[in-house]
């Protein structure tokens, strides 16, 4: 097992190591006057290498940074995916202790059966199988003291990013990330979200676990146990093209369905959150990262998407982006220039799968690669600062992009007609 750096000092060392590396890169650039883009890409890699090394809490931070900061390079996704399972393990003594502290009784008294060995890693904890009243359960348990870890890690990351975000203001992104993380470690919020989606996401092919509230607290979450294959195992089982298409379609449709109908989305496109179940059903687990979307924003977002699909002219798009707060007030020419240089390339990207009735991710297997590259290039343009990006917009598009990356791996084809009909319905 890899050694998990458990302290701020060793975390500090890792971050420090990264900062040293970046320093070296920067001076290299000044010395050689070399290709700036390349250097920034390298820096992004270094930051993520460092975050990846930190594991545990920092993996979650890295995920959130990745979601919130578009200037980081494409390689991060895979790296984070790999390190996701590396969290501190909770031994039997600690499990007993946590369950007793949280539920007031020992595991053997709280459940008919409780397996002391974890069967899965979860966000900042681990999941145990249990039964009560003959119902198979999944009990998610959090490692003690995570909150404190977040505090100290975030202060380090803030320190690091602030100095290397090219002078851009990253405070609001840091606090957004921090807020997301605190939300994610509070299992009562997750329980609420899980209940909400279970009640409101009306799709008989999507299975959402039932929360057992009397057996759940801030640090313990008990739900019904879903049985199915995880993403990798599903792909390894050589599923038929029709099956892959159907699953991708389901994920795609339900994203827009929850966006427009529920105004809340599952904002964590980690493949580990899906279970591929029997009868073509899809299990949705882990409701730790839910993004609520405001009605006003949603309306603007929708109008924008529709007009983009209908091929509106640039001047009108500028107006719409201005309304979204993504273009600052300036002369007409400057606003248009900003739109064409920064936002339009992104627009082209986001609308690409939506333009035609069908989109084949197998034929466009470089979609997410192009996507991340484009986001990255846009970010390099010095006149563009992070604070101009609408956070909700960013979260939605990053999530969507994350889903597209999954579809790409599945080599699936999606049908966009239903989603477009939904958009028009809500216009």
């Amino acid at each position: 097992m890899d050694k998990l750096p458990t302290s701020k000092l060793s975390r500090g060392k890792v971050v420090g190591k990264a900062l040293l590396k970046i320093g070296a890169k920067k001076s290299k650039r000044y010395l050689t006057n070399g290709d700036k883009k390349e250097t920034h890409e390298e820096i992004a890699d270094i930051i993520f290498d460092a975050l990846g090394e930190l594991k545990g809490v920092s993996v979650k931070i890295a995920q959130q940074v990745a979601l919130g900061m578009p200037f980081l390079s494409p390689v991060y996704l895979e790296k984070i995916g790999r390190s996701f399972n590396a969290i501190p393990s909770i031994n039997k003594a600690l499990i007993r202790k946590i369950i007793k502290t949280e539920l007031g009784v020992y595991p053997q008294d709280a459940f008919e059966h409780f397996s002391m060995e974890a069967f899965a890693a979860a966000s900042l904890g681990q999941v145990h199988k249990a039964t009560k009243n003959h119902t198979p359960l999944a009990v998610k348990v959090q490692y003690p003291g995570i909150k404190k870890s977040i505090e100290s890690d975030m202060s380090l990351i803030h320190f690091g990013l602030k100095r290397f975000a090219k002078g851009q203001n990253v405070d609001h992104i840091i606090s957004e990330i921090e807020e997301r993380l605190y939300e994610e470690i509070d299992y009562t919020l997750e329980a609420e979200n899980c209940d909400f989606f279970r009640k409101n996401l009306n799709n008989e092919r999507i299975i959402i676990p039932e929360v057992f509230h009397t057996l759940s607290t801030e640090k313990v979450l008990t739900t019904s146990l879903l049985v199915g294959l995880d993403f990798e195992a599903y792909l390894a089982s050589n599923p038929a093209q029709t099956s892959k298409n159907a699953y991708a379609q389901l994920i795609f449709d339900s994203f827009f369905d929850s966006l427009y109908n529920l105004k809340r989305i599952h904002a964590d496109p980690n493949p580990g959150n899906f279970l591929f179940m029997d009868d073509a059903k899809l299990g949705l687990i882990d409701f730790g990262c839910i993004k609520r979307v405001e009605g006003v924003f949603l309306k603007q977002y929708l109008n924008l998407h529709i007009s983009l699909l209908e091929g509106e002219n640039d001047t009108q798009s500028v107006e719409q982006y201005f309304e979204l707060g993504m273009i600052e007030e300036d002369t007409k020419e400057n606003m248009l220039y900003f739109y064409q240089e920064v936002i339009k390339p992104l627009d082209t990207l986001y609308k690409e799968p939506l333009v035609h009735d069908h989109y084949d991710f197998k034929a466009n297997s470089d979609f997410s690669k192009r996507g991340f590259k484009m986001i990255f290039e846009v970010q390099q343009k010095q006149f563009h600062s992070v604070h101009k990006l609408n956070e909700q917009f960013l979260f939605l598009n990053r999530t969507l992009l994350g889903y597209y990356a999954l579809f790409e791996k599945m080599e699936a084809t999606i049908d966009t007609r239903k989603v477009k009909a939904l958009m028009r319905e809500y216009q």
């Binding site: 050694k3 750096p5 458990t6 302290s7 701020k8 000092l9 060793s10 031994n91 039997k92 003594a93 600690l94 007993r96 202790k97 007793k100 502290t101 020992y106 053997q108 002391m116 003690p144 003291g145 909150k147 404190k148 100290s152």
Partner: protein
């Protein structure tokens, strides 16, 4: 009429609980055995029969908690599947859980042991027979099951573990983190170190424990320093005095 063992046990528990409550209310010094007897609903001679002095009562309390902890451990069906470290960790955590409701009382006692020296720490050793026997048993089973090789100074390990246990209590008494999470982490890390010593992977674990302390305590005190400029100035001046004679 002969009093049965279990009735005797019940009376003892009743007296101890009344004593703890009274000590929490009035402080160790001002709580009298007489009043404890009254609150427990027993006669004065009876309480002296069980505990001739307040100090003996205190030792009786500690022994009682050991007994209760053992009873809880015995109820764990798959306890034999726990590793040595998990068994020891469960023992410590269980004792702490039992102390939790009497925390105010334990804080007073700890203060008398560690600060005012009202109670000699050596005296506490008289109470640890059951604890030490339990640890000895866990250790022997672990060696027998070849989980660990027979360690050097094996016969001293259980009493060393008792010392460690007293240290954990001292830490817990001062722990102001939410749900005493720092103590939980401290136990987890330090027993990780102990496990590593027994399995000889010392250095990694030692640094993990060291880091925990650094992270949890050193950093926060450093931060305090940085916000207290006065103190820092004073420190600097002192340092200057040292450096420049």
């Amino acid at each position: 009429m002969k009093i049965t063992q279990s009735a005797k046990e019940k009376t003892k528990v009743k007296i101890l609980q009344a004593a703890v409550d009274l000590i929490i209310e009035k402080g160790f010094e001002h709580a009298s055995l007489r009043e404890m007897a009254k609150n427990a609903g027993v006669s004065n001679p009876t309480i002296y029969n069980y505990f001739p002095s307040k100090e003996k009562l205190l030792y009786g309390y500690i022994e009682q908690k050991h007994k209760e902890a053992m009873a809880i451990l015995q109820k764990i069906e798959d306890f034999h599947t726990y590793t040595l470290r998990e068994q020891l960790q469960t023992l410590i955590e269980t004792e702490l859980e039992l102390y939790l409701e009497d925390r105010e009382f334990i804080i007073q006692i700890a203060d008398m042991v560690f600060h005012s020296h009202g109670i000699k720490i050596g005296k506490l050793y008289e109470t640890n027979t059951l604890f030490i026997e339990t640890v000895e048993e866990m250790l022997n089973i672990s060696i027998e099951a070849e989980e660990i090789a027979e360690p050097p100074f094996k016969e001293h390990l259980p009493s060393l573990f008792w010392d460690y246990y007293v240290m954990v209590i001292a830490y817990w008494v001062k722990d102001d983190s939410e749900m005493f999470e720092n103590t939980t982490q401290f136990i987890d890390h330090s027993l990780g170190l102990m496990e590593a010593v027994l399995h000889s992977d010392i250095l990694n674990k030692a640094s993990e424990l060291g880091m925990f302390f650094f992270k949890t305590h050193m950093l926060s005190s450093l931060q305090k320093f940085s916000t207290q400029k006065q103190t820092l100035k004073k420190m600097k001046r002192k340092l200057g005095d040292v450096l420049h004679g």
